[in-house]
């Protein structure tokens, strides 16, 4: 048993944290959305399902990237400081106890842009600054 524990801790030492990116993430809404900016706390509340509306009371439609994508991992880490497995565990707790539903997953950036351009309540995030008259960046996240 002691050998097993030593082995486990040796493995732990080998796994180094992987947070070396310096780039920023952009939280984007439809240009028609009246909110000018979003605080990190508001973003946490929207993407963790604690609030269903923007500050002005309009319903929000948060969008997520593919479960195992790198951008999703970075987004939640920068926003909450937690690894993606913790975020998945959080949603498993809420979803399987009937308390909430996670943000909708879209397959790629274009799909996310398309939905944001066409829905004033949609909110998504990108690892580049998307341009276009129908879009508005409301929060920029620096990497932790």
């Amino acid at each position: 048993m002691r050998k097993l524990i030593l082995f486990l801790f040796a493995l732990i030492g080998l796994v180094a944290p992987l947070h070396a990116q310096n780039t920023r993430l952009f939280v984007v809404v439809n240009a028609k959305n009246p909110i000018a900016s979003l605080s990190e706390k508001e973003a946490v509340n929207l993407f963790l399902g604690r609030s269903k509306t923007f500050a002005n009371g309009e319903y929000a439609l948060p969008l997520d990237h593919a479960t195992s994508s790198a951008v999703r991992k970075r987004f939640y880490y920068d926003l909450t400081g937690k690894p993606i497995s913790e975020i998945n565990a959080y949603w498993a707790r809420l979803f399987f106890s009937g308390q909430g539903t996670p943000p909708r997953i879209v397959p790629d950036n274009e799909a996310m842009l398309l939905i944001i351009r066409n829905n004033p309540g949609a909110i998504g995030y990108f690892d580049y600054e998307p341009t276009g008259r129908q879009l508005k960046v409301v929060l920029t996240l620096d990497s932790r």
């Binding site: 609030s51 319903y59 690894p83 998945n88 498993a92 399987f96 879209v106």
Partner: protein, 471 residues
């Protein structure tokens, strides 16, 4: 929003990917599909659709990756039921070894202990499927079926939840049907091992009460408070009964009615909860029927038999449960603890104080943790030995059923969670469990007949490994 969107996101989503996104959203900004579509020219619509059909391949493969909320959703449901049905699930495959011979480890009192060997996959293995259907933006129907080891396994008692959730106004929801019996910090996630770091919630705190579901309802109200969200929940109903084996002969345990209130607060790092529940025991005797029948037969000869019968008779007895719990998680440190007090008027039922504390630290994909759990349940009933030696075995058996069946034990646990994929965790846990001779609520010794009643220290090491998945 003064202007309606060009067309509805649900239409878009259904084009982009039936497989990945198929849940409706209470979206007041959604415009009628016909009107929405007419705003686009046919040419641009066609090219958009072609582009999106190509994308659906990517969506398909993303779904097949086994990712949690992607693959959890049945692709064909979108067209069949207008995008509001989803099927998802969770499962655990576990293996447990306990070192003390003839004392198999059980995770909770409702497990079929007679079928559990020294090495067994029964304790932690389980499979759950959940169906969510949202016919209206403010109404959701949820059903969850969980297959796990129980004394009595039927389809009906495997339906963990089946409720209608109605949110007539934001921040208030009413659930009616079969809902979770929410006594503990982790009540509703006990089966979803992926959602916590241990192999299983501490048995001292979670294993004594086998009740998971409540036929009734609850009302939850939410509000922002500080940096987090405050929730207050009222619930009432009748618990789904559970068969428990205190000896070879099971008894069916339930509480009815149960009424409770919980208040919880949660932000990014912290989660606090306090709850109080009052319930009435829905069970005639807290002892196997053969023991009760024997006591009833000898009651005319032996007056103390009636004293014992009175102690075992629990129907209508109040059972109150008060608990507080807290959890901290900043992405590195993970600390969880709970404390509770259970009160019952009869000595034949488990009561007393329970507590645990767990501290873990994340190193990349690994999360090692150390936990200590303790349950103290003091009870004793002194009944003089009967003069007639023929009655001695019955006296031994019935006093032991009270004095040796308390929920008194403690466990030190050391383990680690390893996140191998975004929907899969592997866990390893070592437990050292010790219980005094009178603390045998969870330690019925199988097949040992009378020797089951002999005083015996529980001093055992339990090794467990599990694979937890979400799908």
């Amino acid at each position: 929003m003064d202007q309606p969107p060009a067309f509805s996101y649900r239409y878009l989503i259904s084009l982009v990917s039936n497989e990945v996104v198929s849940k409706t959203h209470p979206d007041p900004m959604r415009s009628p599909p016909g009107r929405a579509l007419s705003r686009r020219t046919p040419a641009s619509k066609d090219s958009a659709m072609r582009a999106m059909n190509r994308r659906s391949f990517a969506a398909c493969s993303a779904a097949l990756m086994g990712s949690f909320f992607g693959a959890s959703i049945v692709g064909a449901s979108e067209s069949a039921l207008d995008g509001s049905l989803s099927v998802s699930g969770f499962g655990t495959l576990g293996l447990v070894y306990s070192s003390q011979p003839d004392l198999p480890f059980v995770r909770e009192i409702s497990q079929n202990i007679d079928a559990i060997e020294r090495i067994s996959a029964r304790q932690d293995s389980r499979l759950g499927i959940q169906i969510n259907y949202q016919p209206l933006p403010e109404l959701e129907l949820v059903a969850q079926v969980v297959v796990r080891d129980k004394v009595d396994n039927t389809l009906s008692n495997s339906v963990e939840w089946a409720f209608a959730k109605w949110e007539p106004i934001p921040a208030t929801s009413l659930r009616l049907g079969r809902v979770g019996l929410d006594l503990f910090l982790l009540s509703d996630q006990r089966n979803i091992a992926y959602s916590y770091s241990w192999v299983r919630p501490p048995v001292e705190f979670y294993g004594w009460l086998p009740l998971y579901s409540l036929d009734g309802g609850d009302l939850t109200w939410r509000t922002d408070l500080g940096d987090g969200q405050l929730k207050a929940k009222l619930f009432a109903g009748r618990s789904l009964p559970a068969d428990v084996k205190l000896t070879g002969n099971p008894i069916r345990f339930a509480v009815s009615p149960a009424v409770g209130i919980n208040i919880s607060w949660e932000d990014v790092h912290w989660r606090w909860r306090a709850g109080y529940t009052r319930s009435r025991v829905d069970l005639d005797y807290a002892a196997p029927s053969d023991l009760i029948d024997a006591l009833k037969q000898v009651a005319p000869l032996w007056p103390h038999a009636q004293t014992l019968l009175d102690s075992f008779e629990v129907r209508g007895t109040d059972l109150t449960y008060a608990g507080v719990g807290g959890a901290y998680d900043d992405g590195r440190w993970q600390i969880i603890g709970e404390y509770s007090r259970t009160a019952v008027e009869r000595v034949s039922m488990p009561r007393g104080k329970k507590a645990y504390l767990s501290v873990g630290h994340r190193f990349g994909a690994w999360l090692p943790y150390l936990m200590y759990a303790d349950s103290t349940d003091r009870r004793s009933l002194v009944v003089a030995e009967p003069g007639n030696p023929m009655l001695t075995p019955l006296w031994v058996a019935s006093t032991a059923a009270i004095n040796q069946r308390s929920m008194t034990q403690r466990t030190w646990s050391l383990g680690a969670r390893w996140d191998v994929a975004s929907n899969t965790a592997l866990k390893f846990q070592f437990d050292h469990v010790s219980a005094p001779p009178e603390g045998r609520w969870l330690w019925y010794r199988q097949g040992a007949g009378g020797s089951d009643l002999m005083p015996l220290h529980v001093d055992t090491n339990v090794f467990s490994a599990t694979l937890d998945v979400l799908f």
